[in-house]
């Protein structure tokens, strides 16, 4: 059977109608995962515990429980703490780390009856745009195996796209859900900053990190995102905003909706084919009743530089805890304590992580803090203000997710700055803390997926769901699956 190819909604309906059991779905997922090991999407496969969880879900269902995520298999990016299940962050420094607790989102998923089938591969400590920075080898894009799936949540994207599972969790700091979603023909949601608890998310940049979803449909996204959301006492940066019932936002008409198109996002570096697909989607939105207006986000060009000061600064602080003392890798034969720190970190962290720690330490160091970090945080406020101004004229912003489609493995690894520029369209939203979604909007000449990005006002995931679902209902892009 191929139950792993069904959506969350289809699996839930099938379970309710007793067409199959959660154990059968889970087994199909596990078989598919094991048959697709060449993708290298998974770092840990939870065969035994997944089957146990699936059977427990089937028992609950038999007793009348029919909640939407009961018995649904899910893959989890390996940056999220799962109690008793190895969590590596794609790094040698945590290659043997087993968290003693569940992240809040994991607890919520378990309480909802979801079945965790495995932990997915990722760029080390979420630093990267291609999943080529993993200490455990890169992930292949299921659409074309000589291509990257995007990053840093490449494993989760590949797992849903292949397809191996109906849904996966990822994290997005500067685009790490949205860009892989665009490269892999998926719906990828980054919620408003503060919408989802970061407790148990091994931190990269605390003012930017958010946990979100990869699904093949907008409806699935709405169902899962709602379960993840809510203020958590364990994360003081999470905000007490009421959690909307997102499936109420599923729509077919967009009459009255104003979509803003930022001129600064349609400049050099944008692939002509991506540009064409986005422009075509604007026509589609108009056909659905929306009106398109031009908006301006004047500080867009500064965003990548601002991000690559703030994110590494926060990372250098967050990664200071990896010192070989309490957990993780500890270097052997150290002369003394300081030697242990130097050796552990130099041997345990990969080159990109070291690069970012060094940038971070520099911009925070005495004499440079004002010129770099403080200045960047001020420009960040200007960028957030740009969005506020634009949103006084429109309800949503529409733009490309990434400047190109999936590039080749190895193509950009020798130029870090070129790699950073992949995130030019996703970074500004992260800096402003706004919700954003990438969804499928076409394919290029090589049959590689193109992603469309919708950016919403703070806390307005509902309008994202509304626009995305109407677009999806009138197009076929999301129905295509890789044939390689």
């Amino acid at each position: 059977m191929s139950l792993h190819r069904l959506s969350v909604t289809e699996i839930s309906a099938g379970l309710a109608a007793k067409k199959f059991t959660s154990l059968e779905v889970t087994n199909d997922c596990l078989n598919a995962i094991n048959a697709a090991q060449d993708l290298n999407a998974f770092l840990t496969i939870c065969d035994d515990s997944a089957r146990k969880d699936a059977s427990a879900a089937d028992k609950l269902r038999a007793s009348g429980d029919s909640r939407p995520l009961l018995g649904i298999p899910i893959a989890i990016k390996d940056v999220l703490s799962t109690k008793g299940i190895k969590t590596t962050c794609g790094s040698k420094i945590l290659s043997n780390y087993i968290p003693p607790y569940d992240a809040t989102v994991i607890r919520k998923l378990r309480d909802a009856g979801t079945v965790i089938v495995g932990k997915t591969n990722m760029d080390e400590f979420a630093m990267g745009s291609s999943t080529e920075n993993s200490a455990f080898g890169p992930v292949k894009n299921p659409w074309k195996k000589d291509r990257v799936p995007g990053g840093s949540s490449g494993g989760s994207a590949a797992a849903v796209a292949a397809p191996l599972v109906p849904v996966a969790l990822g994290t997005d700091t500067g685009g790490s859900i949205r860009q892989p979603a665009a490269f892999c023909n998926l719906v990828g949601l980054k919620p408003t900053y503060g919408r989802v608890s970061r407790y148990g998310l091994i931190a990269f940049a605390s003012s930017l990190d958010q946990i979100g979803t990869f699904t093949r449909t907008v409806r699935d996204c709405a169902v899962v995102a709602e379960i993840l959301s809510g203020r958590d006492a364990h994360d003081s940066t999470s905000v007490a905003q009421p959690v909307p019932h997102l499936v109420d936002g599923l729509s077919t008409s967009l009459k009255g909706l104003k979509l803003g198109v930022p001129k600064e996002y349609f400049i050099g570096g944008l692939s002509p084919e991506v540009n064409k697909a986005i422009k075509a989607s604007l026509k589609q939105f108009e056909a659905l009743g929306a009106s398109i207006i031009d908006v301006t986000l004047p500080h867009t060009e500064a965003a990548v530089a601002v991000y690559y000061i703030i994110a590494p600064a926060e990372a250098s602080s967050n990664l200071a805890r990896f010192d070989g003392i309490r957990y993780g890798y500890r270097a052997k034969d150290s002369a003394d304590l300081h030697d242990l720190y130097f050796k552990t970190r130099s041997e345990g962290f990969g080159p990109e992580v070291q690069r970012r720690i060094l940038i971070g330490a520099y911009v925070l160091s005495a004499g440079y803090y004002d010129a770099y970090y403080l200045r960047a945080q001020k420009i960040r406020a200007l960028i957030a203000n740009d969005f506020r101004n634009a949103f006084s004229q429109c309800d949503l912003i529409v733009c490309p997710t990434a400047p190109t489609t999936a590039f080749k493995l190895g193509e950009k690894t020798s130029d870090p700055l070129a790699m950073y520029l992949n995130d030019v369209f996703t970074i500004p939203t992260s800096l402003a803390g706004l919700p954003a979604m990438s969804l499928p909007c076409g394919f290029d000449k090589e049959s590689l997926p193109i992603g469309l990005q919708l950016i919403g006002k703070a806390w307005d995931e509902m309008t994202l769901i509304k626009a995305a679902s109407a677009y999806e209902a009138s197009t076929d892009w999301h129905k295509r699956l890789p044939t390689e």
Partner: protein, 95 residues
């Protein structure tokens, strides 16, 4: 910006030791990246407050009430080298 980036000094701050070859490569890469940041010095920020929490949250407190926390044994399970309820390390205090 970037022209006086001294990789050895910064690496020491970050407890990273680099081989001479790696240090040379990183010095070049990071100088290029920091050079890219140059554009930020042209933006007028004289009337802007630095942003700390993107939605303006600050000083979120909780009641000082005892809650159950993770058992010590479970936390020590990840220690690279332990002795009873302690984690073993090289000498911390000298003399």
């Amino acid at each position: 910006m970037g022209s006086d980036f001294d990789i050895k000094k910064v690496a020491k701050l970050a407890y990273l030791s680099l081989t001479p070859e790696r240090a040379e490569n990183m010095q070049q890469e990071l100088s290029a990246i920091l050079g890219y940041m140059e554009q930020l010095s042209k933006i007028d920020v004289s009337r802007v407050e630095a942003m700390s929490h993107v939605h303006g949250s600050s000083n979120i407190l909780r009641e000082d009430v005892l809650e159950a926390s993770t058992p010590t044994e479970e936390i020590l399970a990840n220690a690279p080298d332990r002795s009873g309820r302690f984690i073993r390390t090289p000498l911390v205090v000298e003399g």
